[in-house]
Symmetry: D2
Subunit: 115 residues, 4 copies
């Protein structure tokens, strides 16, 4: 069947999450550069169609812990260093999706689908 | 409202498309390396959950045209050099999505949502 | 033969250029998000060892021209939208490298090697 | 001072390493997809100028160990899952560079510079 507008809104939410994650995974990241990376991720993905808002919160405690365990003062951006929320509006169908830690691993999921 | 399984299947399809595109955009690409890049894209994204199949067809004519116009025998992978189809199965809800050229630009869209 | 310190400094400069380019190529980019992307690129790569400074200037005229030609108000970051300068100091050997347009294509090159 | 050809060869070697690493870091990776990713990395980077050969060996034991520790049958490509060797020839100056594990962390270095 052809997709409904709500299903397309969910598809668009997924595109934004996959884009954000795989564009920026691997970026050199320190406590000093965390804010600028978060802002760039938000503004870059908000360019994409039907994307109302992107919020990236760097998990600074997790980042500090990882840096304390390693030999350098920076590491690579990966999912356990951020919580991300994305709001989509496709033809009036509004979708909210989130990436957050679940049992030690980052999980992307739809949290709300509303007309 | 909580998402339906079909909506989640559409979200998962979007994640795979965004992942594939932004992981591999910018990869150095020539006619000689097109096959290995296509195979790696397919097998990498098929690792992701609920992903049944990924098919990447490099648009070799478009690539040859771009190389003929430029100064080098390679360019960077971007959407106009591939048609991509992705099949998702989430809890029995099956979704097919595709990226193909639309009026000169690559467009990602859901093509079928079925129980 | 083993590399000299100056040769290693040149190798380090190359690593930073390849990293910056291929980490961020493909990022959704508009006139509104250009500043935050440039700042994130600078701060991310400055985390890497032996990297003294990174300067990214978005070529806003080239970006505006590309957007005027296309159907959307954003495009993907690629080399023709930036001039980049990177300063390396490896064991007192200082290297400056630059990416700038050369006959219509972005070219990375060493501009100065000094003790 | 202007760079020597040997210094430029070292710069080119660095570009290839940074490119390879940051293009492919974050790619979904399993034991089944390791070979296709390695081949694509080699062929993609061999497209770049002055690049004679790229060899990517996936460290399958390290990958198997990481998968045994995690909840999924795939992970993300990062430096500890590969040993990489790159050969450059710039105007007859030949450079070999390598990425391999050093005290638990991947290290990129020049191994030989020869006329």
């Amino acid at each position: 069947m052809d997709p409904t507008d709500a299903q397309t809104a969910c598809f668009e939410a997924g595109i934004k999450f996959g884009s954000l994650y795989h564009q920026f995974a691997g970026t050199p990241l320190s406590l000093d550069s965390a804010d600028s990376l978060a802002t760039a991720m938000e503004e870059a993905i908000e360019n994409q169609p039907h994307c109302e808002a992107v919020t990236v919160d760097i998990r600074e405690d997790a980042l500090a812990d990882a840096l304390a365990d390693g030999p350098a003062d920076y590491t690579e951006f990966t999912g356990r260093f951020a919580e991300i929320e994305i709001d989509i509006d496709y033809e009036g169908e509004r979708v909210r999706a989130r990436m957050e830690m679940d049992d030690g691993y980052p999980l992307m999921r739809l949290v709300d689908v509303a007309e």
